[in-house]
Symmetry: C2
Subunit: 290 residues, 2 copies
Amino acid sequence: MIIVRTKEELRHAIREMADDGQSIGLVPTMGYLHEGHASLLTAAREQCEVTVLSIFVNPLQFGANEDLDTYPRDETRDIALAGSCHTDIVFIPSVQEMYSSRPLTSVKVSEITEQLCGASRPGHFDGVGIVIAKLFHLVKPHRAYFGMKDAQQVAVIEQLVHDLDFDVEIVRMPTVREPDGLALSSRNVRLSPEQRHQALVLSKVLKDAARWLKGPEMTVDSLLKAVRTEIGKMKEAEIDYVELMQYPSLQRVPGKQCLQEASGTVILALAVKFGATRLIDNALYTIGER
Amino acid sequence: MIIVRTKEELRHAIREMADDGQSIGLVPTMGYLHEGHASLLTAAREQCEVTVLSIFVNPLQFGANEDLDTYPRDETRDIALAGSCHTDIVFIPSVQEMYSSRPLTSVKVSEITEQLCGASRPGHFDGVGIVIAKLFHLVKPHRAYFGMKDAQQVAVIEQLVHDLDFDVEIVRMPTVREPDGLALSSRNVRLSPEQRHQALVLSKVLKDAARWLKGPEMTVDSLLKAVRTEIGKMKEAEIDYVELMQYPSLQRVPGKQCLQEASGTVILALAVKFGATRLIDNALYTIGER
């Protein structure tokens, strides 16, 4: 496994390892890796000849009041995990290396960035857009792996790839969960034991919703109300958003819509703060197939 | 020479011709080719193993009141010229092929797009940004060739490449001129004989300015005034802009700045309408090297 910190070293390492048309798999991360990231690396390892992991806490995707400075980091452990997943190249650039001058270029996806985390975190997806464009240009992956825990991010990147004709396949990987259902997140370490216990409501309600939305009279509004009520039972929970939308277009579904009369794929997306820690979780459902 | 009209055919042709690491040169154009484009193709031919010409009148870089519908086109002649320059692949997509759905993604370069043609043609460089990103992703060129007649476009694309880490070398090619000095342009065919004669003032004044700006007392304001006066002598000339700026940053130079006390590379950029036909021309000067 090669560890590189500059773009030049990265390009050189990729040329050395993949010069005869071998397929490259990229797993872009912000580090503090967990089993969710490991599942992406393992899939890349299985499907591609060369696997590249990037670790970069991208300041452009954090808002002014967000947790950039306190975002958890542990490079040594990340490198060990990358090694255990048989990663070929780990790219760990500094902020200065990635943004040697203030970029004048923006890469913006409209519409699908205007709800959910895009609404709660203005500018967040513009930061994602530019860093993903840069990483794709630096690594030139054939496949790039993203976890569906960040389902909106996946939708945004798929749109970016479509609109700009990037020659890369976006591989959607399922959310990895603890045995009790909690979605893995680098931010979970910040939860108190009590908060962690209360946070189980997220995965539980996503499971319940799969049953609820089959109810013959169930509308979007009544489903969302039921979900909010369940989450509201947790004392430390403060809802940022609870939304049901079409996926991946993230178009709204009318509140009065009876779910069994609709069709297609919808996402139930949750963002809830437990104390100072904001967690997101979601599930996709295929509706209207009777 | 292979002529392809779809992205899939293009990708296939490039894979076939350049699969063992051969260098690819791209010349992106809007067609109606002239000797200026031929000089780009010839340079690409000399410096790269595979040359790709794209011909696409990109609607996104035309404003609502601009000449998209009447932009001159002659595919047969373009293909003949491409052949005579020993081009390998000509890519002529339809609008539907390039934009199969309305793009939600924008690629915007700020600051250097806010003056000159960016100010006269709002949105123009956003259209350039997205189409260049798409062409770079489709062709994956090692080098891309652009004429300095569109000097602002070159500056914008260089910034785009820098900010997004595109792995492509932008090759600046000098403006090609008629023997009497008129810069070649696909729009020149629309000039009446009298307009064409008057348009010679552009190249003449760019030449004169090289002498004028060596004057010991010459300020930016007085230089621009002299240039405007010369152009104003032409009855059919209507000035859109006459500007002196740093290049490639396109930062303003203060009007009272004495040119012989400044240093660096500056551009004198002209956009002038002759009747309904808007022409641009420019020259770069190195100042302050005494």
